[in-house]
Symmetry: C2
Subunit: 339 residues, 2 copies
Amino acid sequence: MRDTNRAWYFAARPDGEPDADSFELRETERPEPTSGELLVRVNYLSVDPYMRGRMRDTESYAEPWDVGDILKGGIVGEVVESESDQYDTGDLVTGEGTWADYSVVDADDVAPVDPTVADLPAYLGVLGMPGRTAYFGLLDVGEPKPGDTVVVSGAAGAVGSVVGQIAKLNGCRVVGFAGSDEKTEWLTEDLGFDAAINYKTTDDYRTALDEVAPGGVDVYFDNVGGPITDAVFTKLNVDARVAVCGQIAHYNDEDVPMGPRKLPMLIAPRAKVQGLLVGDYATRFGEASERLATWVATGDLSHRETVVDGLENAPDAFLGLFSGDNIGKQVVQVSTPSS
Amino acid sequence: MRDTNRAWYFAARPDGEPDADSFELRETERPEPTSGELLVRVNYLSVDPYMRGRMRDTESYAEPWDVGDILKGGIVGEVVESESDQYDTGDLVTGEGTWADYSVVDADDVAPVDPTVADLPAYLGVLGMPGRTAYFGLLDVGEPKPGDTVVVSGAAGAVGSVVGQIAKLNGCRVVGFAGSDEKTEWLTEDLGFDAAINYKTTDDYRTALDEVAPGGVDVYFDNVGGPITDAVFTKLNVDARVAVCGQIAHYNDEDVPMGPRKLPMLIAPRAKVQGLLVGDYATRFGEASERLATWVATGDLSHRETVVDGLENAPDAFLGLFSGDNIGKQVVQVSTPSS
């Protein structure tokens, strides 16, 4: 018999706010790669807000998790068994794996990781799916022009922190909403945001925006929804663009949430509001990865990861996303990289 | 002293639903054109939903009316005095004038009218601002492709009726929402809509859409807002486009109206929602006018006007827009054309 493997399984669909009852850690036999596959020892596991959608029993862009399924997510790890010519044991790879100590992946579905470019967790953040989401969402949907005022909600998260910095590289004035003074200080002092609003200690977002974005809003990159978005929509300039990347404020709602109707607000500014999924840009991932890596190397793009230690704490790391525990990208360290 | 002139003035800003108290008919001296101007005997006057916005004391795309101002609007009429080389007395022109028997206009701001192409009221509808709004809103914002399913709210109105027919010319399946059986029959029997839903006698718009648009919605041209729009948003296909042209259901709301939050609905279909003002396409009005006139001439584009007789009834004609009294374009006949 092969060695054992710990893995998290989907135990129950949550109603509203998920909790530990949705997760079950099991010890099973370590999986075995077949032809074209790799067995990867997971070093880091990604937990992401979009996974809340996979907990629902409805078809959507991400395949729903069935109760009893092993949980899936982005990983970085080391190849320990290879049934593919593409990778040798010892190689570092990233791609979609499982919430487990060891994960079997198809060699065609992973990408190599170069630890000299950035630390491994960065491959789940700025150099991974969140970084690419920020890149295409801001540039292709938001279409920022120099001099534009760009507002970002969830600005200290994995996507928002990259959005704001790319907007600065584009010559924009950048304002971020985030949920703590530590976060807003990171945005303005380390990432170069022009202003940041702590939405938990600010009463009136519209007045706050009048102060830091007196010329109105040209681009709004929305990761959050709710009252922040309600306020920003009252400040849209003519020809404003809104990229709807996430709506984390509403992911745990069981009923359709109600709020101020926004369509009447779009006519006078002729604003454009567009939903965004990074998968639509798959043919251009190489472009994004190359530019993001260059900006990281030159220091134009700072990044930060919040690391929770131990596979056993993965559910807590996921649940913490909804209370904003993370600064930058939230990852789980499952094992220590061997080199 | 010159002859007299009857004209409507803005008497009071309404709260909520406007009524006759906002309008005052006065008899004054007939205005006199100065250099470059024309005195036009008004034959037909246009009343339009967007005018409700001009009754508010807020800057917007259309200049607000001040209390005491003479009311403005589109007119078709006959030049009776000319202080311009561009037009002679007896010429027919259209442009922005006043709610009056006689209106002074700048010769540079009006366009000639050819009564052999269409009857005069059509120049305030299919061949006027509403027709151009339909043309650019559908083609430039809605971007219809053959085989797309296009849904139109306010489908029997001045704009919606043209939108649906242009969508048919583009090879689309077209579904309209309208407020009476007479209207829905007009849409399907005379205008070639594939289906029409009487929103006043239908309880469940989502189920109704499932029947007539089983493949979902690719383009939604929204003139109305409210529950119709709430239902259509649940049916948006991947890459759907929503043109927000009007929101007549909300024009009389005094507070910001509440409704189901729609931004979370945009992510999975990556839908685009865009506000639209026809004035942005001013440099291409010639293109639209030429094509619309051709389609009218060939019979590809049907049109209908609801004519209220008498300047004294202009406020009633305007107020009737909000209860859907009109089929096609609502106009007021102020005088009989002299030829």
